[in-house]
């Protein structure tokens, strides 16, 4: 297993480095003077000179890149249009998005996995059709529309929940009030995918020879389904979860925008809309890093769960 992990970590590092290069080149590929782009399109010669000096724009590109990475590793991602340090902005916003993401994942897992299992065990029966149809619809509904609908129903019509905004965790009840709708909205897509994958995986497991053996041993249906089939299925879908998390991260962008939550996701849009290339650079870099790290963690978890990798 050690070799497997080492290779995964190595691959992740390579990908990270390459991704950072891609971001770096992307920003500098924008037509025009990079100093202007990084300086939020101001024409002030003093500012431009300062930017040129700071980002070493007169040096060869590889040197610029290394310098940029060096700064980044030290937590300095530059300043945005309003002269605020980007790293600080990002760091304050990430926990909010993290909370949203974790809540969504929890909701999706607690709804999607059991539903998928039930659909598989009761294949062809009404429960199966209900779950399969629900999952299809959940896949097809764009969550920003769902968000708008929720706001209309629960905030505007029923006044049960606030339409937007965010309250810190120090006020847990208010925090939940603000987070519950966005979390449910964000979890829909992920939950739908989980339902389908779980159902498919369970159908495979339930048809496998070892399930026949388990039944031949006289085990109860609970033990057969819940222990033998389920364990195999859960392990199989671990790798799929990693891929889905990317979609979840994308989803926070829209969800935060609609619900007026000042999180990392919304920061991405703000940066793009304001053409704040320094901010875009930092944000995309952090997003990619986060995604790569999360996938790496998922891979590690998978290697622990799958005995064929863990023990050889």
């Amino acid at each position: 297993m050690g070799g497997f992990l080492l290779r995964k970590v190595g691959a992740a590092l390579v990908v990270l480095v390459a991704a950072s290069m891609l971001v770096f080149i992307g920003v500098r590929a924008i037509p025009g003077d990079p100093a202007i782009a990084l300086g939020a399109e101001s024409r002030d010669p003093a500012l431009l000179a300062q930017i040129r000096h700071k980002y070493m724009l007169d040096r060869p590109v590889p040197v610029q890149y290394v310098h940029w990475i060096w700064l980044a590793l030290h937590g300095d991602l530059g300043s945005d249009q309003r002269e605020l340090p980007i790293a600080h902005t990002i760091v304050t916003r990430i926990p909010i998005t993290l909370e949203l993401a974790i809540l969504s994942v929890l909701i999706a897992v607690l709804t999607g996995i059991p539903a998928g299992v039930i659909a598989a065990v009761r294949r062809g029966k009404p429960e199966d059709y209900a779950v399969t149809t629900g999952a299809l619809v959940g896949l097809s509904v764009p969550h920003f529309w769902l968000g708008l609908l929720f706001i209309v129903w629960f905030a505007v019509d029923l006044h049960w929940l606030p339409a937007s905004g965010y309250v810190g965790l120090s006020h847990p009840l208010a925090n939940l009030e603000h987070m519950i709708m966005p979390a449910i909205v964000l979890s829909t897509g992920f939950s739908a995918v989980l339902m389908r994958q779980m159902r498919s995986s369970m159908l495979n497991s339930l048809g496998a020879d070892y399930v026949r053996t388990a039944r031949a041993k006289g085990l109860s249906e609970w033990q057969v389904v819940g222990r033998h089939a389920l364990r195999n299925s859960l392990i199989t879908i671990t790798t799929l979860i990693g891929l889905q998390l990317g979609a979840l991260i994308s989803g926070t962008v829209i969800t935060e925008t609609i619900f007026g939550i000042a999180g990392f996701g919304r920061l991405t849009i703000e940066a793009v809309n304001q053409r704040d290339y320094g901010l875009i650079q930092g944000v995309v870099l952090v997003a990619a890093t986060g995604y790569v790290v999360v996938n790496l963690l998922v891979d590690i978890v998978y290697s622990f769960l799958n005995p064929r990798i863990r023990v050889t």
């Binding site: 691959a11 390579v14 990908v15 990270l16 390459a18 991704a19 891609l22 992307g26 590929a29 924008i30 299809l136 619809v137 896949l139 097809s140 509904v141 764009p142 920003f144 529309w145 708008l148 609908l149 706001i151 209309v152 505007v156 990317g246 979609a247 991260i249 994308s250 989803g251 962008v253 829209i254 925008t257 609609i258 991405t268 849009i269 793009v272 809309n273 053409r275 875009i280 995309v284 997003a287 990619a288 995604y291 790569v292």
Partner: protein, 292 residues
């Protein structure tokens, strides 16, 4: 190709097509999906004739009007007919959906196949680049490219296409890797076939079912992607109608006229659902293991 070849190739293929058609017709859901998809395509193509009003035609006497016989779905904040805008909006969605997916396929399949067939350093390079692109979630990638390219429907389509390519490269590569181990490959080589022949006449046709299924899954993602990009102001620019921009406009009027958000959304959901249902059905009938 001799006469014998033609006969031998033609009959099994047409028989297979008939079998697939039969299996398809036994699935009402998939058929329904196909009908709705075709409906949207027709809607997009025939927009000038179907829509009662021009999409940018404003009527300042009927702002935010409720549905009536004049305006079946009401009007928006500028007095534009919602129904017409939805019909015209189908153009942006269908264009974005189909063309971006086609672009992704045209780019991804050859790259993936070459990587999978030749392996070696070509494969390693392609695999690493794909991994890097996959390091960015689809939408973030699309948003990023849009930001670089500038907002417009064309650029949004390009961005979506580029964003959709990496998973397709991976699939094309995987399929090629598996298919090149099949027995007919060395048989073809023994018959003197060159690399190109093997790739295009032997391996590619065996991948088509997987690719078709992937395409029907990618299209709805692209459609929703276009709506998202337009919603964020990165796609279709006003006054061209798009379901995404309609939803963006609707945001400011959620309290007074929620229907402005509901109708375009329903169109989006129907389109995505139809493609997903169709994709599911296709996957079922093309899988040799399903019995019906």
């Amino acid at each position: 190709m001799t006469a014998v070849d033609t006969i031998a190739v033609a009959s099994p293929r047409s028989r297979r097509r008939r079998l697939l058609r039969k299996r398809f017709l036994r699935r009402p859901m998939a058929v329904a999906g196909l009908i709705v998809v075709l409906g949207f395509v027709v809607m997009a193509a025939a927009a000038p004739w179907l829509a009662p009003y021009a999409p940018s035609a404003t009527d300042f006497n009927a702002l935010l009007a409720h549905p009536s016989s004049n305006h079946l779905l009401g009007t928006d904040s500028l007095g534009r007919d919602v129904l017409s805008r939805i019909i015209w909006g189908a153009r942006a969605s269908m264009q974005a959906g189909f063309f971006s997916t086609m672009l992704a396929l045209i780019v991804a399949v050859p790259i993936g196949m070459i990587a999978g067939y030749y392996r070696g350093w070509v494969d390693t390079v392609v695999a690493r680049i794909t991994d890097v692109l996959l390091a960015f979630p689809f939408l973030i990638l699309a948003v990023g490219f849009s930001a670089i390219l500038g907002p417009s429907l064309l650029n949004a389509t390009l961005a979506l296409g580029i964003g959709a390519a990496p998973p397709l490269i991976r699939i094309a590569r995987g399929e090629t890797l598996a298919l090149r181990e099949e027995d007919y490959v060395p048989a073809a080589i023994a018959n003197g076939a060159g690399d190109a022949t093997i790739i295009f006449r032997h391996i590619l046709p065996n991948m088509t079912s997987t690719l078709i299924v992937q395409a029907t899954v990618t299209i709805p993602l692209a459609i929703v992607g276009e709506a998202v990009l337009s919603f964020l102001g990165l796609g279709v620019q006003p006054p061209t109608p798009s379901w995404g921009t309609m939803l963006q406009d609707a945001q400011s009027y959620l309290a007074q006229a929620p229907r402005l958000a509901i109708f375009p959304g329903i169109a989006l959901v129907l389109a995505a659902l139809a493609f997903n249902v169709l994709g599911d059905g296709l996957r079922d009938i093309l899988d040799p293991r399903t019995t019906r």
